[in-house]
């Protein structure tokens, strides 16, 4: 047996995006969180967009995760998500900012305290 190669996608990316490569907005990045709005009908959406809505329905997901679930390139997913944002199906939230780096002094004090106790 030859080593298996990943199966080529049956539906090519240009059909998924209808030939477009540029998302309608460039505010999206890999960690943008996507949240599906539940009150809009899915009629008129292509299967990939429906799938985006499906995976986002259970809670917010990052764009990178959505791309992974759909097995689509991130750049193609961006085009889809931008469309869904235009139609109001998806709202985004900036990623949760990382916690402020802790003060080394406090850490040192904690460490000292622990050492003293043990």
């Amino acid at each position: 047996m030859t080593p298996r190669r990943p199966e080529a996608r049956l539906v090519r990316s240009y059909v998924v995006t209808d030939g477009r490569a540029h998302p309608t907005r460039n505010t999206l990045d890999l960690v943008t969180l996507l949240i599906a709005t539940t009150d809009l009908s899915l009629a008129g959406l292509n299967p990939e967009k429906r799938r985006v809505m499906e995976v986002c329905r259970h809670g917010s997901l990052s764009l990178a995760e959505v791309a992974g679930h759909l097995r689509l390139p991130v750049s193609v997913t961006k085009v889809l998500v931008a469309d869904l944002m235009d139609s109001g199906h998806i709202v985004t939230r900036a990623p949760i900012p990382a916690a402020r780096p802790s003060d080394t002094r406090i850490l040192q004090e904690v460490l000292d305290g622990l050492r003293a106790r043990l």
Partner: protein
Amino acid sequence: MTEPIPQAVTWALAAALLGTAVLLLRQHGITRRQRGRNAVLADGVRAREEELRHLVTVRLPALADHPGQDLPGIGPLDTRLAETEFGKGMDEVLARFSGAVEHAQARADQSAKAALKASMRSIQALANEQQVSISEMQDRHDDPDVLRDLLEVDHTNAQFGRRAQAIAVLCGSWPGRQRSTSPLIEVVRGATSRIRDYRRIRVHGQVEIAVRSRSVEPVVLAIAELLDNAARHSQPNTTVEVDVQSVHNGACVVIDDAGVGMDGHAVEHATRLLSGRGEVDVTRLDDPPQFGFAVIGVLARRYGFTVSVDTRSPYGGVRAVAFLPTALLTQLEPAAAEPPIDLTTQPETTPAPGPVAAGSTTGSAAEGTTEGGLPKRRRRVPKRQDPAEPQPVEAEEVPGRSPEENARILGAFARGTRFGRSAGRILDEEEYVDAAATGAAGATAATEATGTADSARSTAHKSHEPHKSHEPDENEGTHHA
């Protein structure tokens, strides 16, 4: 004394005259008959010459164009010659000539097909390779400008691959490319991916039907040819409407274009090609070559679906209907149902070696549909004790795979082997289902084994694998027996 002499002379003269006259008369008659016969013979010779000229200038060329057919109006000039030796000789010449032409043509066709097939296969392989590289590049690059170019390249490559594939099919090759079972909508959209004007195609309809893996590629190719025809023969500002419907005996893909339509003669010609009955002569495709319908015909005949183009579309163009019978279809399965089952059955598998001996006797119990993985596992355990030859080649690859993938691979392997053996016969549904079930069973059992086996037992685990890979073969044997 002198007197009787003149009398005798007179008598003699008279007799001589009479004789001469009789002779002359006879001669005259003979000459006339001879002349008549000569004329007949000359006519005969002229007729034969004419016939021969006719043979060389009309009948043989006509025969060269259409060998093996009796052409009306191109028979012998003079039917009286047919019974003669000459006529029979001419028939013999014609028969031999026709045989020689047919033989030469068959050989030319065969070698043309063989050469085309080989070159198209290599082109197809290159197109596939290129498609993989393009996909990888799409995954790697995040820049929309790069993506735009990649999409264009991908699109051209897909059309290019389809062309090569179509010609290869026409030359008697398989469509190639093993695909997994795919939803019918995806199949239609996959076909859309391979034509130039993909943006004009609108796909409607929601069906929960999937196309079996063996038929995916041929159906994609046939529908792509239909869509390409529809888009090519209609105005660029019109759309091509595709409707996917589930019908009683299968599913239909209805393609409507708003194009020029086809006249009666064209429909007749297309229907003949779509039936796939006539031999396709690759040396006689038009220029530019038009082989769309011929390709669909070949695929439809080989895989058992039908395509018709004899109705008018409500938009004024052609309505093409591809009917896929139930044998090519399956229901869409909800994905990822197995993994939780694997987790719950995991603790039970460790004490399982106890009923091993019983397992071999209760082979029929394994077929019972008890919930959980236990019965499936029992079925595998007795086989592990069989002194089967190990197949170490497959053992190297298995550890990294997910259970679904294993199921798919084993199922495909079993199906493929059986299909190859039955050489072109379309499999029954039961056989497919059985193959899938045994493949899944083997794979589930395999996952349980991998789940319980820790690193210390990894060597023991390795030794099981040959049996896993062997399993489809055994199941297959029972099917045949």
